[in-house]
Amino acid sequence: MPDSADILPGTLDLLILKAVSLGSLHGYGVLLRIQQISGGAFLVEQGALYPALFRLEERGLLASEWGVSENNRRAKYYRLTRKGEKRFREVADSWNRLATAVAMVLKTRPEEV
């Protein structure tokens, strides 16, 4: 994976919530989805996904159930709870505000000051 970067602290949760919001996924699926939608921009340490999933589930943002994967193996599927959806929107909003603000700051040219 070329040009990939370590993700910022705290953004892993956001990425997971986004990935799962597009449809329920198993753990490996979450990894693939993140790589897919970020165009491979983020390097997720694969094992670190699981404590994060676990934490989100404990906090009631994700719900899980056991299902069968595309190649007929038992797998645990995660989906967003209503609380998770709400949380995702909040976090996404504040992230967008921050990103816009940072982008604006970075765009500032000397003559504008």
């Binding site: 198993h26 094992g47 404590p51 934490r55």
Partner: protein, 883 residues
């Protein structure tokens, strides 16, 4: 399963770990498959996937950690916060903890009493759940009696479900210490007693097989630890020494361990003697081998896994066989197995009904305490509404708030639980204070074992639910916008949530009323019993005891002594008359009892009517004051050489001769035909609350005992007569030890302990409940006043006189009280019937008790309402409106 899995499973880690493992395996498998698809060899792909994943163990540990922290963290934080809140309002905390400590402590104390006197009544006895009482029954006669030794031996031989059949009979004796007589209690036991009870003597041995066989054959004794310590100064070489009991030296073979008090609820044993010594300890002769002599109060130990019902079936079948084999003695006889707490042979008969009532009462007190604390929490919730709304506003969930408030409640009740256990520990020996001491060693202690503590903890959790849930829900339910406004503009009776607090007070008033009515009824019963007519004149009669048997007198010598002593007693100044009676009425001595046959009366088949009778000397009826309404009293001429005679009471005359004159008719008692020479008025014989029953008397001379009671009719008091009696006794035999002298009235009062204990407990707890309810009512009133200062100020400004304000506030308090009393009265009308036989000549709906309870409630509620109302009348309108 690998050892590792087993280990995890033991640690309950498997659930989390198993699902995580499966997820991780799935992940690595999928990744390897994908890598394989891009051209790697399977081995290479597998290796690569593992490396990319990183340390699985490490991540698993992170998951576990986050789960542990999540639960524990919030709980610890809640506890810390809760403690801070308790410290911040010490007045509230102390009051709440005090209320709960009283409630939980009272319950723990009662539980420990139930455990110590009913469920596990015999400290040190092993596995008491498998020990049962064996009691005899007679068809057609309610109640239970003892068993005979031959019957017991047959049961022991024929029952396979029983581990042991243990014989025991309580006996008393007199040990003289100088010129003072000291009563000692102990028991006659079968040789297997110590082994079957699981008691190992600390010095020496228990009894050996065969020591319970043979008339007077084995004068050996096991003494109690207390007796060993006090009388023998703990001498380890006590084994082999002798102790004289009833004139016969007994060899000490063992010392019972400390903390073993014998197997009789209420008393502390000092010695144990084998059954073979029965004749030495019981004044009615050698009856060990008589099948018809039912004097033993036996226990059985069930084999493991055997139920009471199975064992009952087996002993019943043996009893039926005995009935067929020995019709003369066993016709109509049955055998019942009873759990220890239903034993008819000891104080459980008194303790069981009393503790039942006490348990209900203390539970009510706990409810009242909970209602009170609930109320306090509601007040505090109002004070904390700003905190709550801030926390809600910054995003705390309602469940989270409720959880925290519940933790605070739990904190209160756990602190109170500790206090309650201390209270119970302190109350352990309180029960014994309520039981009149008759000069024997009493053991009546509660037992605070883990079962009691666990149950108290459960009670404490239950209490937390009771008192903390409603306030928690109520206070987490704040209107965030509303709390931003100033809220001291309340209107009397108008606050939301006020109804909740009012109804809590209402419940308290109702429960207090109920308890007070109960206490009133029992106290009235007590005073009725105190002044009731027992059928004889108890006031001018003194009672004492002449213990010739204990001093080793044989029958002829005893007869001479008793005659000489009687002459001297009658010659004492102030003595109007005197008589012997083997049993003094209203003591715990048992009357003789015998199946009777009456000329011309046909008993129903399969039944042997057994009637109690008393052996009395000439002059008995005149002395005790029972009128003889037909025929004559016993005379000196009714002695051992004269034909046997009897005097029957009215009930017996009515039942067996059906209105015909019984004088001159005959009845058969223990194989002897007696002629009825008189009819005595009915009286009470053992207890004021007993029903009328057939009863008869026989001359002491014709049925002699070397042990008897002495009744003296005199206007002197016991204190002045006792030394005179002792002097006369010593002049006849310097070795005899005189007993205490009490009036018959005092003796009667001793028998009221059931009503006394129940009455005292109900009065104490009723008072406590009233106090708690008063505090609750005061709280509501004070709060109402403080929350409606603005309204009050407005009223004053508009011209309301202080009297008007007083009336307004008092009417609100009294309205609450009235509603509480109404509910309480309805409950009392339904519940007081449960007091049942404890009530003596008092209707469960006795108006006086209800009126007294009402009066006390009114006084208490005035006391609770007046101070806040008074404060309200001094409201300064200017300040109230400005603030």
């Amino acid at each position: 399963m690998s050892p590792r899995d087993l280990f995890d499973r033991l640690l309950h880690r498997d659930d989390l770990d198993r699902s995580l493992n499966e997820e991780i395996q799935f992940h690595i498998g999928q990744r390897a498959q994908d890598l394989e698809g891009s051209g790697m060899t399977p081995q290479e792909a597998e290796r690569r996937a593992r490396i990319e994943f990183g340390s699985a163990e490490n991540y698993k540990e992170q998951c576990r950690e986050s789960r542990r922290l999540n639960g524990l963290h919030t709980f610890l934080a809640d506890i810390r916060f809760g403690l801070r809140m308790l410290r911040r309002s010490p007045g509230f905390s102390v009051l709440a903890i005090l209320c709960l400590t009283l409630g939980i402590g009272a319950n723990a104390a009662v539980l420990s009493w139930i455990e110590g006197t009913l469920l596990r009544p015999y400290p040190a006895v092993a596995d008491q759940a498998h020990v049962l009482v064996l009691a005899g029954t007679a068809r057609g006669t309610p109640g239970f009696d003892g068993m005979s030794w031959p019957d017991l031996l047959d049961i022991r031989r024929n029952c396979r479900l029983l581990d042991a059949v243990i014989a025991e009979k309580i006996v008393g004796t007199t040990l003289s210490i100088g010129d003072r007589a000291e009563r000692a209690t102990g028991s006659l036991v079968s040789a297997n007693y110590f082994d079957a009870m699981g008691i190992r003597p600390v010095v020496g041995r228990g009894f050996q097989p065969g020591e319970d066989v043979g008339r007077n054959a084995h004068p050996v004794v096991v003494i109690s630890y207390g007796m060993w310590r006090d009388r023998f100064r703990g001498d380890p070489k006590v084994i082999g020494k002798t102790q004289t009991f009833n004139g016969m030296p007994h060899t000490i073979v063992g010392v019972a361990p400390e903390g073993f008090y014998g197997t009789f609820v209420g008393y502390e044993w000092q010695f144990w003697v084998p059954l073979s010594m029965q004749e030495r300890f019981e004044a009615d002769g050698y009856t060990l081998e008589e099948r018809g002599a039912r004097w033993i109060e036996p226990f059985v130990r069930l084999k493991p896994g055997v139920t009471l019902a199975q064992a009952q079936q087996e002993v019943s079948s043996v009893a039926r066989r005995l009935e067929a084999d020995f019709p003369d003695t066993n016709r109509g006889r049955g055998v019942r197995l009873l759990p220890l707490w239903e034993s008819p042979f000891n104080a459980s008969t008194v303790v069981l009904p009393t503790l039942k009532i006490t348990a209900v009462v203390t539970f009510l007190v706990l409810l009242i305490a909970c209602a009170n604390v609930s109320n306090l929490l509601l007040v505090r919730a109002f004070a904390r509404r700003h905190e709550m709304s801030v926390r809600l506003a910054v995003g705390a969930g309602r469940t989270r708030l409720i959880k925290q408030l519940m933790t605070e409640g739990l904190l209160l009740s756990v602190i109170s639980l500790v206090g309650g256990i201390l209270v119970a520990q302190w109350c352990r020996n309180l029960l014994v204070l309520l039981i009149p001491n008759r000069g024997v060693k009493l053991h009546f202690a509660g037992q605070l074992d883990w079962r009691v503590v666990a149950l108290s903890a459960a009670v404490c959790l239950l209490a937390t639910l009771f008192f903390a849930v409603i306030p928690a829900i109520q206070s987490s339910n704040v209107d965030i916008a509303g709390t931003l406004k100033n809220e001291s503009a309340g209107v009397i009776g108008g606050r939301h949530g006020a109804w909740l607090r009012s109804s809590l007070v209402l419940v308290q008033v109702a429960l207090s009323f109920l308890l007070l009515v109960g206490a009133g009824l029992l106290l009235q019963s007590l005073s009725r019993i105190r002044t009731a007519d027992p059928g004889f004149s108890a006031d001018d009669v003194l009672a004492t005891h002449v213990g010739l048997f204990d001093a080793g007198y044989e029958v002829p010598r005893a007869r001479i002594f008793e005659d000489q002593f009687m002459d001297r007693v009658r010659a004492l100044p102030g003595v109007e008359s005197a008589a012997y009676s083997r049993v003094i009425p209203f003591t715990y001595q048992t009357y003789s009892s015998s199946p009777i046959t009456v000329d011309g009366y046909q008993a129903p088949p399969d039944e042997q009517p057994a009637i109690e009778y008393s052996e009395v000397s000439p002059g008995y009826f005149a002395t005790i004051g029972i009128p003889v309404i037909a025929g004559r009293e016993f005379a000196r001429s009714d002695d051992e050489n004269a034909p046997p005679v009897a005097i029957v009471n009215e009930s017996m005359a009515a039942q067996y001769w059906r209105g015909a004159d019984p004088i001159g008719r005959r009845l058969e008692v223990k194989g002897r035909w007696m002629q009825v020479v008189g009819v005595a008025k009915n009286a009470k014989y053992s207890d004021m609350v007993e029903p009328l029953r057939p009863f008869f008397y026989v001359p002491l001379r014709q049925n002699f005992f070397t042990e008897s009671g002495l009744l003296i009719r005199t206007r002197q008091n016991p204190a002045s007569l006792a030394p005179l009696l002792a002097k006369e006794m010593h002049s006849l035999d310097p070795d005899l030890a005189p007993y205490g002298v009490i009036t018959l009235r005092e003796q009667l009062n001793l028998k009221r302990s059931t009503q006394r204990i129940a009455g005292i407990l109900l009065a104490v707890f009723g008072g406590l409940a009233l106090l708690l309810a008063t505090v609750g009512l005061y709280g509501v009133m004070a709060y109402t006043v403080s929350q409606s200062t603005r309204e009050l100020g407005l009223r004053v400004a508009l011209g309301a006189a202080p009297v008007d304000l007083l009336r307004l506030l008092l009417s609100r308090g009294l309205w609450l009280t009235a509603a509480g009393v109404l509910v309480g009265a309805a409950a009392a009308l339904a519940a007081t019937r449960l007091l049942g036989y404890m009530l003596y000549k008092v209707s469960p709906r006795d108006p006086l008790s209800f009126a007294c309870a009402l009066l006390m409630i009114i006084i208490a509620s005035m006391a609770a309402c007046l101070p806040p109302a008074w404060r309200a009348t001094r409201t300064d309108p200017i300040r109230a409106l400005r603030d």
